[in-house]
Symmetry: C2
Subunit: 259 residues, 2 copies
DNA sequence: CAAGATCAGCGTACACCGTACGTAGTAGTG
DNA sequence: CACTACTACGTACGGTGTACGCTGATCTTG
């Protein structure tokens, strides 16, 4: 499997090129026992339940009642499978495009964030050589639709979407990282009961005064200095505010009160 | 190695607890041939050169002239090693804290982004159960120092830093993903020469009019609809603008012109 | 100073991974 | 009906992280 072939296959699979399966009949050999969609859907379920690491070709094949190598009948490589999973997830929740621009952008960001929180493994999938599949491209199209009525350059349109997406991804990155529950059998309390004393016994107490004060205010001393959930609302509001002039809107009332 | 022990070890190693090595003398058995710092530094070099996947315990041991299992003398687990690498990288480039608030935040964001671009594997390291080491905590302290003079709640301070960090991480995620060069022996041109025709042959031409138009404007039809490098400047400026009122600053001159 | 106790460094071995390649068997073709 | 083409599948290989037992150097004790 050369890199070129893999790339070509990826595109055809992403877009479910009919050339792949010319017809249900007219095929030599035994009939396929499952379909590409079933493979991808099952893989997503496995990743959601037990993490991306649990999505091994063997485990997935067993889940589908197939031999380990039979998966390669449907998918040329594990990396391609992961790319298909990413695009498939984007099909679940469409991006809302109607309504006022700022509200739509706000809703769009929240939809994206919820998707990352529901499927944390999305962040682990390497984005390298990411080819756009139909669902992710449809999402981009919907995002552009939101700001289509606003007057700006096409380059700026892309930057607006990109800035919001970047913030969402970054925040999701931290939010997922902060979720320690489903990790390794340790509850939050157990974990902190172990790490907390070890930290305080080893850390110079007065070397990080601001972190100590702010960390206390956030509520979880030194451990998770971020509060990603509330931080998301804050950051998104600020970012949208910064985008107001680009979007041709006047300042918000709260900002005017600032003056 | 239970999860509790691993957590305790991680903290002690992160902070280089002297209890680990009570003294150079007074130890039974053969002398260590390398040090924890050498292990971590060498692992960083390997990850920078050949990617995180190349950092296997065997390969790293060979690089250090050790047997495969000797690494476990210094580090209890590969995950712990990765955590040590993350904190060590943060020691390379300190965050500048002097100067006007907005300029400092801008500079801070750029320093962070450059770090991710220089060490792309940072994004791949699972942030689960991330314990703060001395260098990352020092960085947080410096970030708080930037906005210490501004009046706001401690919770808001954390949110300001968090919002900027999230945007940086998200943008770096896309930037790294867009860099296809060092991937799998295919140059950008070769890759596109394969994927481009496959895409256009399989994609309904009129189904994504906005994506097509904007994608053309960005310059690379359908493939990488983002332009992360210029997008970073745009998004950062907008985000900082949205933070102006929180930071107690008046609007920028360009915004005033908007009115 | 000699000898035993102790523990750090190391090698072998195991379970698991992704997947190249050869095999077997089914369905279309002449 | 014989043959061919092509599909699904099993075996096997080189890799991974690391549990576990061994070896031998050093400190402690007699």
């Amino acid at each position: 499997m050369t890199a070129e072939d893999e790339a070509r296959m990826l595109v055809r699979l992403l877009w479910r090129d009919p050339d792949q399966t010319p017809a249900t009949a007219g095929r030599r050999g035994p009939k396929p026992r499952v379909s590409v969609d079933e493979v991808v859907t099952s893989a997503i379920g496995l990743a959601d339940a037990e993490g991306l690491g649990a999505v091994s070709m063997r485990a997935l094949a067993a889940r589908l009642g197939l031999g380990p190598m039979s998966l390669y009948t449907y998918v040329p490589t594990r990396d391609v499978l992961l790319a298909l999973m990413v695009d498939q997830v984007a099909a679940e929740t469409p991006v809302p495009a109607a309504g006022p621009v700022l509200e739509s952008l706000d809703a769009m960001a929240r939809v994206l964030r919820n998707e990352y929180l529901a499927h944390p493994w999305l962040l682990e999938v390497s984005q390298w050589r990411q080819v756009l599949g139909p669902h992710r491209l449809q999402r981009y199209e919907s995002q552009l639709q939101i700001i289509e009525s606003v007057s700006m350059s096409d380059l700026t349109r892309d930057h607006v979407i990109g800035a919001l997406s970047a913030f969402v991804i970054g925040n999701a990155h931290e939010s997922v990282g902060a979720r320690t529950a489903a990790d390794s059998g340790l509850t939050d309390e157990d974990w902190w009961a172990v790490v907390g004393p070890a930290l305080t016994s080893v850390m110079p107490p007065d070397r990080f005064p601001l972190s100590g004060r702010v960390g206390t205010a956030v509520g979880e001393h030194y451990r998770a200095p971020r509060d990603p959930d509330n931080g998301f609302d804050f950051g998104l509001a600020r970012l949208l505010d910064g985008l107001r002039s680009t979007l041709g809107e006047r300042r918000s009332r709260t900002d005017v009160n600032e003056d």
